[in-house]
Amino acid sequence: MKTIKEINEKIKKGQVVAVTAEEIIDIVEKKGTKKAAQEVDVVTTGTFGPMCSSGAYFNIGHSKPRIKLGGGTCKLNDVPAYCGFAAVDIYLGAAAIPDDDPRNKIFPGEFRYGGGHLIQELVAGKDIRLEATAYGTDCYPRKKLETLVNLKDLNEAVLFNIRNCYQNYNVAVNLSDKIIYTYMGVLKPKLGNANYCSAGQLSPLLKDPYYKTIGIGTKIFLGGGIGYVAWQGTQHNPGVKRKDNGVPQAPAGTLAVIGDLKQMKPEWLVGTSMLGYGVTLTVGIGVPIPILDEEILKFTAIKDEEIYTQIVDYGQAYPQMIPGSLGEINYSQLNSGKIIVQGKEVPTGNLSSYSKAREIAQELKSWIKNGDFLLSEPVAPLPVAESGYTFKPLKERPIL
């Protein structure tokens, strides 16, 4: 048994033993869980995939004369930002696209540029065009603003993603007889391909399936900088069915994360275009798991072949909200490049970069080993299955 405080003392003295969520698998196989739990202090995880419910808020500073964007409009490189706040606070969503983007009018739309790309360009230090309109008040008389802005000049620039880091995700296939364009990529007809999106054995919430160490306030690697878990993510759903090892068999927990955009790096926040679907942001996240006891260690040593997920038809079942799975498959099978669905061999593709997830876990490990990253104590736990917290569908009611 160790405490986070004791692990932090070791980090400060340069004596910490940190390994990645991949490396721990071999260590446990060689030494067993008891010895490994004594020797290892921290296991680092990583994930790098498209995460649409991401965005950033900014305070752009007051112009002379003053303008009140609240109730007006604001565009950054033609991408609309939300400005229903005070005078100069705005929030830009990763999935926002310019008003004049043709969208899916010429199907499938290409979605070349949007909020995700803009966030990446800002982080890369590029100047961005800001164009805003307002209605004007006695205290904020200005009605129009057009200027270049740069990340370094903004007062606050904070990445605040309301749902990231899904604990497990569906495998998407298409049973219909026409090609479809989805957020899981292009799906060829009649089981032409199967797309999945998870770092599997490196993915943060799959290595702490009951949220025993990851909670509100956990300090993380976010977009190449430092961030924190702010809350459970939207659609957090801890109550889904789990295997004996605790790993959910379908999409379950999620994280809302926050961090200073100014410290982040463009290689870990990448603007992403999904053909026929829209734009998003591919986010790099790494979460350290403190090895407080043998049970926590056992979870971190879970392997791809022990993590199962569901195969879902995106031709009919997903869009029509028809529940059901075409079968269950593990990540080792998915990573092999082909799986069998309804008796047919189907090639697989991952939307989430395993090699980048590995780099993130290695990077976070080196921060911890070098004494640059201390662990934080969570201030509150994430809701667990027993809490009854669930993810409900919308119940539509007629407006009278």
């Binding site: 990529g185 292009v186 275009s273 591919t282 990573n335 490049g337 090639p347 593709g349 939307l351 970069s353």
Partner: protein
């Protein structure tokens, strides 16, 4: 026997003339057309897999060049931007010729341009648009 994938660029003045058929008739070569179109600037573009005896192959290429056709090896046409690619692998099942493959050890995506037939399916499917066409 040799077999190569090449890109032929036909200038505007040659677009309406029979040229490729002569490769069979006069030079005893075989070809498989992988792609052919006329661009809005009325330049003709054809991607061929061309095979035959080496001597005939070289003569055939000489003939095309003498007609004014510009020839480019296919491997230069579809290029992966190594900086933009995140090695996710969603392109892999889309590629019809197995030119895009995930390395089982490094888990990075390899692009074997000698297998590429420039169908361009990967270009729009790539979430970071890392596959670029340079015809």
């Amino acid at each position: 026997m040799i077999s190569k994938r090449i890109v032929l660029h036909f200038p505007h003045r040659l677009v309406d003339q029979p040229i490729v058929c002569k490769l069979v008739k006069d030079y005893d070569l075989q070809f498989n057309i992988l792609k052919a179109y006329v661009t809005p600037q009325e330049e003709g573009l054809m991607v061929l897999e061309l095979s035959g005896e080496e001597e005939n192959f070289n003569k055939g290429i000489q003939y095309l060049t003498s007609c004014g056709v510009r020839i480019q090896p296919l491997s230069q046409d579809v290029i992966r931007n190594e900086v933009t690619c995140t090695d996710c692998g969603v392109c892999v099942p889309i590629c019809p010729t197995g030119a895009l493959v995930v390395d089982p050890i490094t888990r990075k995506v390899h692009f074997y341009d000698n297998k590429c037939i420039a169908c361009e399916l990967c270009v729009k499917v790539c979430p970071t648009r890392a596959m670029e066409v340079h015809f």
